[in-house]
Assembly symmetry: C2
């Protein structure tokens, strides 16, 4: 057993997920077993809690409570949007020095990996022995090196199920439906909507991701073609979908709105892009016979990252595992890194963890591989194969069309 010579700090950062607390509980449980520190301190609201010395002692948290917290969505320690610069990182290090912190576990995305990296370098310069572990978390699934990230599978399962339900709603009362899905720069979450398709003619009929720029002309022509053929159209679109000039649709739209609204109406809310696209379809397209189209829009919003009781089992297990493994790597004497997953199972889905240097994950993000996108409006089977095991089982549904076969 390693000698207990100091304390550890753990924090959570950025947009929450529905399994981020699995990683937290994975760390706490393994810390209780490994006993490599005197105290495990939970920082309230990430780096802000470190600087403000706002800590909770987590060593003695009872198992029954940990079990419930593991199943609770969003950051149980509180999260933060702070993105520390060099001066902020120095304050973090000063807090660590004061509290004799020797291990830092930071659960977050690429920004958090960068913060962890800088703090680690400051400690090294000062000759303060500090081991820094980044534990991945993001529904955007956009970390480099990582095959995928905890939080993504559950958000993707929510999106796939929501689109599946909406497909049947749209079959029931046919029309055109726009569903706006999270993802400003990477389309992984929107792409997961493809898993909703179980029958011919199932939606989503059109899928738009930020990686495939979209003109108004193409969008309207696509919708018109699907609607003419099927009498309905279900569209899954990333909130970050962009125009051929590289500008995000949401951005272009917002500046129009501000110019038109005499300062009286400010439309920064999440429903705006969906409503805008729906309104564009209503104005520019017609149903056969010149009738008005039935067009609706929904924006899935925060539910995608926080809906409880409907997580991917694989995702929950893996989120717990990367937390646990961070502590095991620490107990083995590893000096730090980001705990990543790779696939090792060939045709069967299996993963293994490994440590990758923080610099390989920090700052830049990953995008959908071009092989996952077809025709600028669809997602390929290659992506389905990639995403299916992360999402796990979806409800089994049926239609009376099957009677005809």
């Amino acid at each position: 057993m390693a000698t207990q010579t100091g304390n550890a700090v753990i924090g959570q950062s950025g947009g929450p997920t529905s399994v981020i607390n699995q990683s937290l509980v994975g760390v706490i449980r393994e810390m209780k077993r490994a006993r490599i520190v005197d105290q495990l301190l939970g920082a309230r609201h990430g780096v802000r809690g470190i600087v403000n010395e706002d800590f909770i002692v987590l060593n003695e948290a009872p198992d029954e409570l940990l079990e419930r917290i593991a199943n609770t969505p969003a950051a149980a320690l509180g999260s933060t949007r702070d993105k520390p610069d060099q001066a902020y990182c120095e304050k973090i290090f000063q807090s660590f020095a004061k509290h004799n912190v020797r291990y830092f576990f930071y659960i977050g995305g690429n920004d958090s990996a960068d913060t962890a990296r800088i703090v680690g370098e400051l400690a090294a310069k000062a000759g303060h022995d500090l081991k820094v572990f980044h534990i991945p978390k993001t529904i955007d699934n956009d970390l480099r090196v990582h095959d995928h990230t905890p939080g993504y599978g559950s958000a993707a399962k929510f999106v796939a199920a929501a689109i599946m339900g909406d497909n049947f709603d749209n079959r029931s009362l046919p029309g055109i439906k726009v569903d706006v899905i999270m993802g400003r720069h990477a389309g992984f979450l929107t792409a997961a909507s493809v898993l909703a398709r179980q029958h011919d003619n199932d939606g989503p009929h059109l899928i738009y991701v930020p990686e495939a720029p979209l003109s108004e002309e193409k969008f309207l022509a696509d919708v018109d073609r699907v609607y003419s053929k099927q009498g309905r159209c279900l569209i899954a679109v990333s909130e970050g979908v962009s125009q051929p000039n590289g500008k995000a649709w949401a951005e272009a739209m917002t500046s129009n709105l501000e110019r038109d609204a005499h300062g009286n109406i400010q439309l920064s809310g999440t429903g705006a892009l969906g409503d805008y696209l729906a309104s564009m379809i209503t104005k520019k397209l017609q149903a056969p016979g010149g009738k008005k189209l039935r067009v609706r829009a929904d924006t899935f919003g925060y539910l995608q990252r926080s809906f409880p009781g409907f997580v991917s089992g694989t995702d929950a297990r893996e989120a717990h595992l990367v937390g646990e493994m961070a502590v095991r790597y620490a107990a083995q004497g590893q000096t730090g890194g980001s705990v990543a997953m790779k696939r090792t199972g060939g045709d069967d889905y299996k993963i293994d963890t490994f440590l990758t240097p923080l610099s390989t994950v920090a700052r830049e993000t990953k995008h959908l591989d071009p092989s996952y996108i077809a025709d600028g409006n669809n997602i390929t089977d290659a992506f389905r194969e990639y995403a299916r095991p992360l999402v796990g089982g979806l409800p089994r549904v049926g239609t009376f069309d099957e009677l005809k076969k």
Copy 2:
């Protein structure tokens, strides 16, 4: 066994629910057992399918398919928004006469009960023996006589879980969050958000329903008070929330927007009310120290009525039961009515079904009892007791605040 002297028609109407197919499958299964007709015809898209003689023969649907369809959200036969007038009802009756239809099962809300009533009267006048059964369905839970309606429990479970998740998201990254919930005239679904509260300080902190008119002044004062005390505020508001002058907020807002937008922007999409309320808070309230508030809005949209794999078990069973019972009442020789539920269990939740005349359910709707509303911004324990058994179990969650106790 009754003599087989004709056919039966079944249809689905109005906004779908996630268990409406349980009722359909309940009817089909019981029809296969009871054998009181030659053919059970499913009308595609409700009354429209009857008039267009667009039927599917349902007698021979295999059990395995029925099991999947029962678990599929939205109307498997297709739904319709058509609200038949007298002339339309006559066409329905003509189709019934032509196809020797002796039983009509119509799954829907109060409008469907009214259609069923009129068609029944036309048949009686013509001396055509037709037994008409209305099978209740609505997420709005607004049918008179009925203790509650199939579809409501599952939509309420979705709303309660969504608000529960969003409460933890809002704890993680504090701010003000507006969640807009379905319900134009009745607040039952929005009221179910109260079931999300499991700890002191849990949201929703404010709940607004159409039955309690709301002024801008009260809304802003409520939000300011909660935010000042807790540093965050989660608001659940019905899409049909109204102003003291009786006008719906959504309506008042839409006319403002149209006036300001030079005809260039049309905001009839579902995200508009949430964005409007969020924008009002941003403009009129300030964080301590004059800082800008973090205000966000989500509109839960169609997911509330169509999300698969997360239904209330009680709701699914009861939806199946009312379908089954409609056929049993028919087989017993009852002449028709709406299949309603009443509670019979005292402290334990139990229900029994009974037939109520179609006229008692048709046209008018039910509203939240005043005893369920407190202070114009909250929902009482009496409502919790009413709704809890309909929704069933919710995820068990925890927070580190429990460590302090």
